[in-house]
């Protein structure tokens, strides 16, 4: 076993150790054992950093990959399935080691931050235990080398997310939110499991590497539609976990959990697990499946951004922003901008964690006030939070010189390139939605910054009624000094253990961490280390090619498949130049794509790089200046505008009415189905059971009377006969000698008569 593998297993198990220690012994330890969690995560992060150093910095090889597995369960020859072996394994490549370092770093910072944020909570120790099990599960997803174990850890993160969303379970809204999150994830996970089963039915293995090798060898026995279905079903897991439309509804509600949890789970790591998973299965996705993914991502990005602009709750704005950014990542994967999507995953994890922790600091300082309408002017009181929050906001908005700019532009460039290659008008919707969402992102983040940090404090404007309504969890302990005056003198900068994570995360949102060129992420180590992997589906089955591609892009059909390395023939029409350029870059960059479509998409993404930069910069500036105009200079009054476009405003404020729609359809629908089933249960199932019971009862009744009359009758009759005979015979035995003598005489006389008659004859 490679030493890095051993170390990665240690990293995986350390948070589990933290969980075990804290869940059982937190009451026996000083400070409820928070130092155990922080210390163990610190160790795990140090080891992860070492792995990262060894793999990404020392080896510096895009193709670096080491794997190790063992047979976990050998079920032998299962009837109807064949030999069934379930393996567990670890794979370390560049993506894994980056994710490992990212997850442990954010988890460590959140642990540290929570020692301040959660101080005084009555379940303080259990909170850290839950963080431990979450980190364990998340690392499990990152390290898994097969679908089966990734599914196990997938469900485990679902569980820990459930536990942490409902951490303040006394609150009804938190309990509802955790239920909602769990159920929405279940829907996605069912699809994911079906997808896994489709692949397993064909290849009898769960291992990524073996499945891809088999696919590349063209051993998929079903039609391509099945492969597309498998890809989309697997993607459903991502739809649930990464809160994509139509299962996005749980993530905003998940903000009921403690804010550091929102930062760790619902912004940086777990929701990114969906994207990570799609990246892991990226090579088996057919063009049709990728189209579905791209459209869902683009729609999610746009929809969530439109909702975010009207929300009042500081965490809800960030939650919808997270949904929107996850939409970007999914969009990126869908259009084939694999590196860019994962790049955005990592950069987003850092700046969004920073934003959430910053909002946590604000909420903490404001004594659990979350409504931005009653904030304002915090810039002076909380300079550190202000600075880091602003930096992260700029990264999220995608302003040049930030990490978000690099990754978002790479995705948008990929989207433009994709649309160019596909050539259909509808495909231009994807980059258009992407750019429009970029503008909205800049707008709502500008709005948030201004509402929270600038202007004058509006605490006193808060209606008194709202105060009782917004009765918050940990409020009870603070009530005495928070009800009358959460005036500014109560608002102060948070302590060092909450400040340090903010600074570190903000520092990781700057461009030079990832790329030397502030305008091009492609020149950085990240994009170089995580190249788009060559697909295993298109090239292997050229005759089965994509249905959709065949219809909308007949030009692609003219490419003689599969193109050999560095010899992609020129394509007729407008794509000739790009294809030729693609073969050129293949020769130069060393990435070879045997699938011509993929080669073209990857190249077109590079070609669209500067176009994307220009458009998105304009969009970001547009969005920010709109926010300035509306909220700083007040040229357009936001309230009047809202009144003027009231239907649209309400549409956005009420989150496109998705909750109401789901309530009216799925929830009401399942209630109707449940009621039908109840009726069926009561009348049909119970009826059958009762009918059988009645029959049995009737039969028992018959049986009883048979027993009573026939069997008992026979017994009683025998007894009666014996009794009667006895009674008769008893009379003969009188005990009187004389009667015996009479009997003797009678018998002798009888014998005499008998003898005489014999004699006469």
């Amino acid at each position: 076993m490679h030493s890095l593998i051993q170390l990665s297993i240690v990293v995986l198990l350390l948070p589990l150790l933290s969980f075990v220690i804290l869940i059982f012994f937190n009451r026996k330890l000083p400070r409820r054992g928070d130092f155990v969690g922080v210390g163990i995560l610190g160790t795990a992060f140090a080891i992860s950093l070492f792995i990262f150093w060894q793999v990404v910095v020392q080896a510096y090889d895009p193709a670096f990959r080491i794997a190790w597995d063992f047979t976990w369960m050998d079920l032998g020859n299962v009837p109807g399935v064949g030999p069934l072996q379930i393996k567990m394994g670890v794979v370390i490549d560049n993506l894994t080691s980056i994710m490992l370092a990212m997850v442990t770093l954010i988890s460590l910072l959140v642990h540290l931050y929570s020692t301040g944020y959660m101080a005084g909570d009555k379940n303080y120790g259990r909170y850290f235990a839950f963080l431990g099990i979450f980190t364990f599960s998340m690392l499990g997803i990152v390290l898994s080398d097969n679908l089966f174990s990734i599914y196990i850890f997938w469900e485990l993160v679902g569980l820990s997310s459930y536990l942490l969303i409902g951490f303040f379970f006394e609150k009804q809204s938190a309990a509802d939110a955790q239920k909602k999150a769990f159920l929405a994830n279940r829907v996605g996970d069912i699809g994911m499991w079906l997808g896994i089963l489709i692949l397993y039915s064909q290849f009898h293995t769960f291992s990524f590497a073996e499945i891809y090798a088999n696919l590349a060898a063209g051993k998929f026995g079903l039609s391509n539609a099945w492969l597309t279905a498998a890809g989309i079903l697997l993607f459903m897991g991502c739809v649930g976990k990464s809160a994509q439309f139509p299962l996005h509804v749980w993530l905003p509600d998940a903000m009921e959990g403690p804010t550091p949890v929102s930062a760790l789970i619902h912004a940086a790591t777990m929701v990114a697990a969906g994207v990570y998973f799609v990246a892991r299965i990226f090579v088996l996705l057919t063009p049709d499946a990728l189209h579905v993914i791209a459209f869902i991502g683009a729609f999610t990005a746009f929809m969530a951004a439109t909702i975010a602009i009207t929300q009042h709750d500081i965490k809800r704005v960030l939650a919808y922003s997270t949904v929107s950014q996850l939409g970007y990542m999914v969009l990126g994967l869908g259009v084939g901008a694999y590196s860019a999507a994962l790049f955005h995953l990592v950069t987003h994890a850092f700046f969004k964690a920073c934003l959430f922790l910053g909002s946590g600091a604000i909420i903490h300082a404001m004594h659990h006030e979350q409504d931005m309408r009653w904030m304002g002017g915090l810039r002076k009181n909380m300079p550190w939070t202000f600075a880091t929050f602003t930096l992260a906001t700029l990264a999220l908005a995608g302003l040049p010189l930030t990490s978000g700019f690099l990754s978002k532009d790479a995705i948008l460039a990929g989207a433009i390139g994709f649309a160019n290659v596909e050539g259909g008008g509808i495909f231009y919707l994807i980059p258009v939605l992407g750019f429009f969402s970029a503008m909205l992102t800049a707008f709502y983040m500008g709005r948030q910054i201004w509402l929270v940090f600038f202007g004058e404090s509006r605490t006193h404007l808060k209606p008194v009624v709202e105060d009782t309504h917004a009765g918050h969890h940990a409020h009870a302990s603070h009530d005495a000094h928070s009800d009358d005056h959460h005036a500014e003198h109560g608002v102060h900068e948070v302590s060092w253990n909450m400040r340090a994570p903010l600074v570190i995360l903000a520092a990781l949102s700057v461009f030079f961490v990832y790329s030397p060129d502030p305008l091009d992420g492609g020149k950085g180590w990240f994009m170089k280390m995580i190249p788009t992997p060559p697909t295993v589906v298109g090239a292997a089955n050229p005759q089965k090619g994509s249905l959709l591609a065949g219809v909308i892009a007949p030009q692609l059909a003219e490419i003689p498949a599969p193109a050999a390395h560095g010899q992609a023939p020129a394509v007729a029409g407008e794509h000739g130049a790009t294809a030729a350029a693609a073969s050129h870059s293949e020769a130069k960059g060393g990435h070879s794509y045997s699938d011509p479509r993929q080669a073209e998409v990857v190249h077109a993404g590079h070609a669209a790089h500067y176009t994307a930069i220009y458009i998105s910069s304009i969009m970001v500036v547009l969005g920010l200046s709109l926010a300035l105009i509306v909220y700083v200079f007040r040229i357009i009054d936001p309230d009047k505008t809202a009144l003027a476009i009231r239907p649209l405003y309400l549409f956005s404020l009420n989150k496109w009415y998705w909750d109401e729609i789901y309530d009216a359809t799925f929830i009401k629908g399942s209630m109707v189905v449940a009621r039908l089933l109840t009726w069926f249960d009561i009348h049909i199932v119970d009826g059958i059971v009762n009918g059988v019971a009645t029959l049995v009862r009737k039969f028992a009744f018959l049986n009883n009377s048979f027993d009573k009359h026939v069997v008992d009758g026979a017994v009683n009759f025998t007894a009666f006969t014996v009794n009667t005979t006895g009674a008769v015979l008893r009379k003969l035995q009188t005990g009187k000698v004389q009667s015996y003598v009479v009997m003797l005489l009678v018998l002798v006389f009888g014998y005499f008569v008998f003898y005489m008659t014999q004699l006469i004859h």
Partner: protein
């Protein structure tokens, strides 16, 4: 007529049969144990008459000898029987055979 006037074997046998009948009747119907013993004596003597009658008309002495034995035995029997009756009286305070039915148990 001659048969009626001349006393022959049949007369003896008839008397014997009557004696046997009276004896049996006494044994079966009387309640007093002593009277039953008397019935038994009648039965024995009916047998004696039979023996003697047959002895006379058969020309031998065996019948006479036999009836002598019977007389002796009857004496012994009477002694034993009376002893039994005395014991019964001691136990049951009665010699009424109808009240003595412990054989039933």
């Amino acid at each position: 007529m001659e048969q009626l006037t001349t006393i022959g074997l049949n007369h003896y046998l008839t008397i014997s049969a009557f004696l046997l009948g009276f004896g049996l009747f006494a044994v079966v119907t009387r309640k007093n144990a002593i009277v039953i013993l008397m019935g038994v004596e009648l039965i024995l003597n009916a047998a004696n008459i039979n023996f003697l009658a047959f002895s006379k008309y058969n020309g031998g002495m065996q019948g006479a000898m036999f009836s002598l034995f019977i007389i002796v035995i009857a004496a012994a029997e009477a002694a034993i029987a009376l002893a039994i009756v005395i014991n019964i009286f001691k136990i049951f305070k009665s010699v009424d055979v109808s009240s003595i039915d412990s054989l039933k148990e």
